[in-house]
């Protein structure tokens, strides 16, 4: 038992932290971060290149692919500090998901072509998984990919595709064998999203922001080498994505920064009697409860990374971390909004933090839905973790 990072890791944290604080435009104490999927995308790419230059963007990659082979704990620290400081520039789709998948399943040529631009922070990828009729039941996806001897012909629609409007490439799952059992007729492909037969239609979320899209493939012809790995093995290839650091530490780290900001706020903000809000026992208790939830999510995130560092595949821990982290994000947003009193409905600059927490409250509604809803995560915990029988696998005798 040792609940402490080792010295080398702590030194890395210090180095990273001072770099970030230096890099943030203006005072990091008031830095609010940026909308990476919106107008600040270019700035985020700039930072990404700097991260690439320092080797941090792909620190998790093996040395043979130009990475550092960094430990899981070091990756946790990286994500923790970046999230805590609201620092843009990380590359979830390219560096964290597609890159490692290519290393395992890509051909030599595919690796040579696609890995270096990711490692250099030069390219934005997006992920085409969900479809209008395939959400939680992803394996039912229908986007049709036909083998036309010298090319693939793609027809269908992807939806909720984050960053598609900023990306130059998309990796996606398509149905290559309509007759096989649903998990066994899916393949993994790459496409240049700027193809004239691919249409990216914006979807504006309820916070009024453009984060995700509908991506329509209409008679898109792809070269044969757009296929990654074996035909009809796409479901399993996509699953390998998940074997890299996925502690979910970004949620408690983000929440901790917001917590500190909210504490400062209620220390300075006074009620109509001139008493600082922090002296209100209800507000005090709300903050202590929040502190506990932040720590709970952090402990589980560390446990995920620890298990990964031991060569174990976290089973329920990953789902627990996702559930706790995303609920936490919603809680912080709600508390921040509640603390604003009547301004909790105002999103202009007269409101505390310019209505940031109010907007966040709308944004984070998606958190418990995306990347496996809370309900799906609980199903996973119950069936894979606790060994309870799957409802859809039961043969019920009808009487």
């Amino acid at each position: 038992m040792k609940y402490k990072f080792n010295k080398e890791d702590e030194l890395f944290r210090q180095e990273l932290r001072s770099w970030i604080r230096n890099e943030i435009p203006g005072d990091f104490n008031i830095w609010q971060g940026i909308d990476e999927a919106g107008e600040d995308f270019e700035y985020s790419l700039e930072v990404r290149k700097k991260l690439a230059n320092r080797g941090w963007l792909t620190m998790a990659w093996p040395k043979e692919y130009g990475g550092q082979g960094a430990s899981y704990m070091k990756q946790v620290i990286f994500n923790e500090e970046m999230s805590y400081h609201r620092m843009p520039g990380r590359d979830g789709f390219g560096a964290k998901m597609l890159g490692p998948t290519l290393m395992v399943h890509g051909s030599e040529e595919q690796k040579k072509r696609f890995l270096p631009p990711i490692a250099n922070g030069e390219v934005q990828w997006c992920q085409g998984y969900s479809e209008p009729d395939s959400g939680s039941d992803l394996a039912s996806l229908k986007l049709k990919v036909e083998d036309k001897e010298d090319h693939w012909l793609v027809n269908g629609t992807k939806v909720w595709t984050s960053m598609a409007h900023k990306a130059s490439w998309i990796f996606f799952l398509g149905r290559t064998d309509p007759d096989a059992p649903k998990h066994k007729g899916i393949s993994f492909f790459l496409a240049n999203i700027k193809d004239s037969n691919i249409e990216v239609k914006p979807i504006i979320n309820m916070a009024g922001r453009h984060h995700f899209n509908q991506v329509i493939f209409e008679n898109v012809k792809l070269p044969k080498d757009a296929l990654i790995g074996e035909l009809n093995k796409g479901w399993y290839i996509a699953a390998t994505l998940l074997d890299f650091e996925r502690s979910g530490v970004e949620y408690p780290a983000t929440a901790r920064r917001n917590f500190e900001e909210l504490v400062e706020f209620v220390k300075n903000k006074k009620n109509s009697l001139g008493i600082p809000l922090i002296n209100d026992p209800y507000i005090n208790k709300t903050l202590v409860d929040l502190d506990l939830e932040i720590e709970a999510a952090k402990l589980v995130a560390y446990e995920v990374a620890y298990l990964q560092s031991q060569g174990e595949v976290p089973s329920i821990e990953g789902s627990v971390a996702k559930i706790l982290g995303t609920q936490l994000a919603q809680k912080v947003a709600k508390i921040g909004t509640d603390f604003s009193g009547l301004f909790g409905q105002i999103s202009d600059s007269s409101a505390p933090f310019d209505g940031k927490y109010l907007n966040q409250q709308l944004d984070v509604t998606a958190y418990t839905i995306f990347a496996g809803t809370t309900e799906i995560q609980k199903n996973i915990i119950a069936t894979r973790g606790l060994g309870l029988p799957r409802e859809d696998k039961l043969k019920v005798r009808s009487k």
Partner: protein, 375 residues
């Protein structure tokens, strides 16, 4: 970062689990609820032989020389079988109080006898208010005189008073500046013990100390300076109870999983229904976080410092989580879990002491608030 157990902790975990499962059966636990002392002589002797009673006592005083994070592993296992009784009062609270404040001759005299199972201790701290703050000591007084001291006062919520050989009594010192601790033999004239009916069968008493004559050699630590010791002892107590609860929560979850895999309604195990599965998943979340909170706090007490925020976080979180786990377990067990004969209710009743002992959620949350400077 190493969240796994050391080899020695694994051995302690396995051997204690084997012993406790075999010897501290639910029938035994039920029998001990109506026993005066709450432990059989045989098991007490075994605990001495296995080195548990002196687990945290240094080897020079006849103990095993383990750390508190090791103790927390043993307490998890005790929590799993719902074992209460004088072990905690003697070997966690008593031993730590002596180690922290006893002088060399007191340590030499008493600690080996704790380790060998020859002496039981009981800390008499709380008064009627029932708080774990320094201000709790308001009516118990120790007055200095020519021969030594005279102690008077009425103590409430005294754990394991019956069967204890010595009380460690907290009293306001003469000038009312600070708290002093005294070692008081339980056979002394003027001691009256009255049982308080505890819901979990824990041995809790009112103890009245009247005109107790004490010698200087019975003073434990310096006059008026015991609060420093006590606040540390309470942190051991709080995390000890937290470890028990995180172990007990795992057992309650286990019982529940077995039940819902087995129990059939509508021609299928009820554990196949998602409404039931999501309750089970919630239990898994609560137990997972509880184990991490309690082990981290235990490790920090052993390796960093005895007074830090993670102790308070652990006790307040795990108390609430364990309560939730019991509640969910009852919900999933349906009517059977509500009966006296079914073992689940033993955990639910004993939980109440574990939650309250050494500071309830509210107490520890206020500490968190202070340490985060939320003012």
């Amino acid at each position: 970062m190493d969240l796994g157990l050391s080899e020695i902790q694994k051995m302690l975990q396995e051997s204690s689990r084997d012993y406790l499962v075999e010897n501290c059966t639910m029938d035994y636990i039920r029998a001990m609820e109506s026993d005066q002392i709450g432990i059989s002589d045989e098991i007490w002797k075994n605990m001495a032989d296995m080195g548990w009673l002196g687990l945290m006592i240094p080897e020079v005083y006849g103990g095993s020389g383990f750390n508190f994070d090791d103790m927390s592993i043993l307490l998890e296992e005790m929590g799993k079988v719902a074992l209460s009784g004088p072990f905690f009062s003697t070997s966690v609270i008593g031993a730590q109080t002596l180690l922290l404040s006893g002088d060399e001759s007191q340590k030499k005299e008493f600690l080996p006898k704790i380790a060998s199972g020859n002496l039981k201790f009981s800390l008499a701290f709380n008064e009627k208010t029932g708080s774990f703050e320094e201000s709790e000591i308001s009516t118990t007084t120790s007055v200095k005189n020519d021969e030594g001291w005279t102690l008077n006062g009425e103590k409430y919520f005294v754990n394991d008073a019956v069967g204890a050989d010595y009380f460690i009594v907290a009293s306001a010192s003469e000038n009312n500046e600070g708290i002093s601790l005294f070692l008081v033999p339980s056979k002394s004239d003027g001691i009256e013990i009255e049982k308080m009916e505890a819901i979990g069968g824990d041995k809790i008493s009112k103890v009245n100390f009247q005109e107790i004559k004490l010698l200087d050699s019975q003073l434990l630590g310096k006059e008026g300076e015991a609060w420093k010791t006590l606040s540390k002892v309470f942190n051991y107590g709080a995390i000890g109870k937290t470890s028990e609860m995180s172990g007990a929560a795992l057992r309650v979850m286990d019982m529940t999983l077995n039940y819902i895999k087995d129990r059939k309604q509508f021609d299928r195990p009820i554990g196949s229904f998602q409404a039931v599965q999501h309750h089970a998943a919630d239990m898994a979340i609560l137990t997972k976080v509880s184990t991490q909170f309690s082990r981290k706090a235990a490790w920090e007490i052993s390796n960093k410092d005895n007074s830090n925020i993670n102790i308070h976080r652990a006790k307040s979180y795990v108390s609430k989580a364990f309560h939730d786990v019991c509640q969910i377990s009852h919900q999933l067990h349906g009517a059977i879990g509500y009966t006296w004969d079914y073992d689940l209710q033993i955990f639910t009743r004993k939980m109440q002491h574990q939650k309250l002992a050494y500071g309830d959620t509210d107490f520890h949350q206020k500490k968190i608030s202070n340490l985060l400077n939320l003012k």
